[in-house]
Symmetry: C2
């Protein structure tokens, strides 16, 4: 996809600021390890796709928003892998950050990436300070507490869990940030774009639950079956494999229907359809479910 | 001091957003535990003092800046206390956050507080978006990598340490943020205020080294003698107690001399002098050194 290059370049430019020669070299290496090579970069892809569908009137700001969002996602992976959470040794097919660099630098890498996300947006604000402020507000809302991914992860430390709030915050939040930030970077209102993000997020959560239940660690590049091990709530546990697959299709249909009217509406719908295909590949049919 | 009430109110208003009824209740409690009751609130006090010395033309924005800065400081304390860093059981005379709520919520509290700091600034931006963006940029620069407190802490994970960069980043950074953000919130340039912040930070570091070497855990409300235990660089180890006390006085003299010309210059000088008195109390004379 043509967007890939744009995204990697934006993330690389963002990271260059944090790993300058003046800083501690092992932290710089750990930051690099946290962000490269990436996974699917699905959140910045959605963000830029929405920005382009809305006319992409400030491409530099959209690039900053895309990289900021991905940096937050990478930070969450580094912290979620820590021994006190998932205790994961492997991420994206290589050692997790705390396994490669130790826990102190894993904590600090996550912290630094969160900070860098906001710094990137502030540095790209010159021509559109009001848009940049709105991007920072949305990213913070969808990252922190009470409705962001930090809160989503924190629901796992509660004795009684609000399942809807948990899913909305843990996975949905950054997808809502993706659609809303794409629109805002291009000068549009955030609000009409919330539903699309929420639906993509919900679909992604179900797809993730299916992957965790059905794929091997080799296929995933990280440990599988973690939901069952940690007794986490999951669509597969709740409705079985075929029920979860049907649920996924329903959500994605609704996502396409929810796309706000915009110049690039048709192209955006095609993109969501392509993700739908990717999310429900043939080998996720219920053979082992 | 009259500023105390203003600062506590600003921090309370900021935290109310993060501990809303919609979020996970134990995270909300851990956030509260992380921030209240506070320590000396010295960074926001300096920030607001500089803002007032510069005319305090946007007091709401200055309040947001003061609370944002203190939230970052509190986040750093929560993460620094984790077992992989200082492994501290006690902070401000009560249990550290990970001892009271467990490591997962301590990690997430720190993360959420970092995010909240930027959210508070974005939400206070309406009337002065350009100032808010500059405040966010400064706060990020002094918090993250390569020159912020994250980098400062990360120097402790290096096999060879750049001592000047370590001190500048670990302690100096948030004091520079304090003076610069105070000036920017009031519509002034940041640059002329860097030296004052750097000097106050350097003085604070020396005072902290003296406290760590000379005070009891009861007096400090946290473990003492940690620099020696962790073999950390310290002004006391480097120049002895009386050398460190003289060094502290020299730095503070330079700090007062560096105050940029502004309407409230005399009052600000008096404030720094008052801090100087506080930092070198009688019982820090070299009795046990």
């Amino acid at each position: 996809m043509a967007l890939d290059g744009r995204i990697e370049q934006a993330i690389g430019a963002a990271l260059d600021k944090a790993r300058s020669a003046d800083g501690p070299p092992r932290l710089a290496a750990a930051l690099d390890h946290s962000v490269f090579p990436g996974g699917a970069r699905i959140r910045p892809t959605i963000l830029l796709s929405v920005a382009m569908a809305c006319g992409d009137s400030a491409p530099g700001l959209a690039d900053a928003a895309a990289s900021a969002l991905e940096l937050i996602h990478c930070a969450s992976l580094v912290h979620d892998d820590l021994p006190c959470f998932d205790d994961a040794d492997i991420r994206r097919g290589k050692l997790s950050v705390h396994r490669a660099y130790g826990q102190p630098l894993a904590v600090l890498s996550g912290d630094s990436l969160i900070v860098l996300a906001f710094e990137v947006l502030a540095r790209a604000a010159a021509d559109h300070p009001a848009r940049a402020v709105e991007l920072i507000r949305i990213l913070a809302q969808r990252t922190g507490s009470p409705g962001g991914i930090c809160a989503g992860q924190a629901w796992e430390s509660e004795s009684s869990i609000d399942l809807a709030a948990y899913h909305r915050a843990k996975t949905g939040a950054l997808f809502i940030a993706a659609t809303q930030m794409g629109a805002v970077a291009a000068g549009q209102d955030a609000e009409p774009w919330e539903e699309l993000g929420a639906r993509i997020g919900a679909a992604f959560q179900v797809a993730d639950d299916l992957k965790d239940a059905l794929m091997t660690p080799e296929e995933m590049g990280k440990p599988a079956g973690q939901d069952a091990v940690h007794q986490r709530p999951s669509a597969v546990a709740e409705m079985g494999v075929s029920g979860a697959v049907q649920h996924l299709k329903d959500i994605l249909g609704g996502a396409i229907a929810s796309i706000p009217s915009c110049p690039g509406e048709a192209k955006l719908a095609a993109l969501v359809r392509a993700y739908a295909e990717k999310m429900t590949p043939v080998h996720l049919s219920p053979v082992r479910g």
